[in-house]
Symmetry: C2
Subunit: 230 residues, 2 copies
């Protein structure tokens, strides 16, 4: 009997990479317009190398990028980039289709809902607020809560402790096989892969279920809970 559903946040509930790509492109356009000494194509490529190098959550990535390209931190270029990025982020950071209606139905069924994210706490809550998802979740486990990234057992253990449930009563939904699915399986939870959000194709780690759309989750839970009642 599934009594709780845990979700990864970025690329599972929120189309984070699409926002990141579109916002970064607009930021680069604005920076080039403000005097960045690189073509748009080269600049965008370089910026994504910086994301790879310093991490997608680095909050000073534009500062580093501009300092490197210009030889100093040009605040005119920085500000134009940040403002352009934010304008897109505000519009693009939203849940995948059927997310809110699915979450409402899960609540109706009396399921507990939680977030287990590798994002820093403030960023996770900002993204939830921006996409109007905050109030659906009973708790949010972010990076600072355990200091460990998935698939480390700590974030999963912490969720089990908060829920006071058996791991088999918990379904974990995530887009990343080697982080979300691997970790949840090791913790003894049921798993569903958010295929619609998947960026990394990894073989060898198989989830119990695969979701082409978040609302497929409702069928998964129905199936699981029917099994138990037999």
């Amino acid at each position: 009997m599934i009594k709780a559903v845990l979700f990864d946040l970025d690329n599972t509930l929120i189309d984070y990479m699409k926002m990141k790509e579109t916002a970064s492109e607009e930021a680069i356009n604005a920076m080039v317009d403000a005097g960045l000494k690189l073509s748009k194509e080269k600049a965008l490529k370089k910026l994504f190398q910086y994301y790879k190098r310093f991490g997608i959550e680095d909050q000073t990535i534009f500062d580093k990028f501009i300092t490197d390209v210009q030889g100093k931190l040009d605040y005119k270029i920085l500000a134009e980039g940040i403002i352009a990025y934010r304008k897109i982020k505000g519009g693009y950071l939203k849940p995948y289709p059927h997310t809110i209606s699915t979450l409402i139905k899960l609540k109706e069924k009396g399921l507990k809902l939680g977030i287990v994210s590798d994002a820093p706490r403030k960023q996770a809550f900002l993204r939830l607020a921006e996409s109007k998802l905050t109030f659906f979740f009973d708790f949010v486990i972010a990076l600072e809560d355990t200091g460990k990234l998935k698939p480390h057992k700590m974030p999963f253990k912490k969720a089990i402790k908060i829920l006071k449930l058996k791991p088999t009563e918990i379904l974990f939904v995530g887009d990343n096989p080697s982080r979300d699915i691997k970790g949840a399986k090791l913790a003894g939870m049921k798993t569903a892969l958010a295929k619609y959000g998947q960026i990394y194709k990894e073989k060898g780690i198989k989830a119990d279920y695969s979701l082409k759309d978040l609302r497929d989750l409702l069928k998964v839970i129905e199936k699981e809970n029917k099994k138990q009642r037999l």
Copy 2:
């Protein structure tokens, strides 16, 4: 002969306080909605006391405010507040009426334009970018450039040095008599008070001109430069 115009930024070119008030009100509404243990009225009053105590530029004012009210930093409340604030800021942070058309006319006349602001550099450039004013200005003097707030002579001296002009060839436009007008007068510049943006009513410091609308500036310059030609 006026050859350059220097502007204060907040409440002279940009209606900063109106944005601050409206955005703060929306932020408080969102925070109360997310569980802040205060009524909207009391919370808003308290937040403005915090602005007064820690300064209007303090970037962690919500953190401090929430920690005090809730007894701990609740990230759900913080994130909802920040997102609500940003939504308003994006729409509200714009130039006063006739700003862009006036700046274009000043450029046509061949005048040099600069900003002398007490705001931190990054904030000043973000506000310029947000309000689409960046490219009108030949330079921006922000807090870090001298480390001194107006009416200290340093920011004014720095502007004179950059412009390589006599102080009498420079017109300073600002809303704050005891900071902008006093400082510019001491530096030997001509002065115009942005009455439309004025929050602090101070007597005893009289500007050479008073502007009811930013476009009045064009008449001021015409008058000044006709005087010189006589």
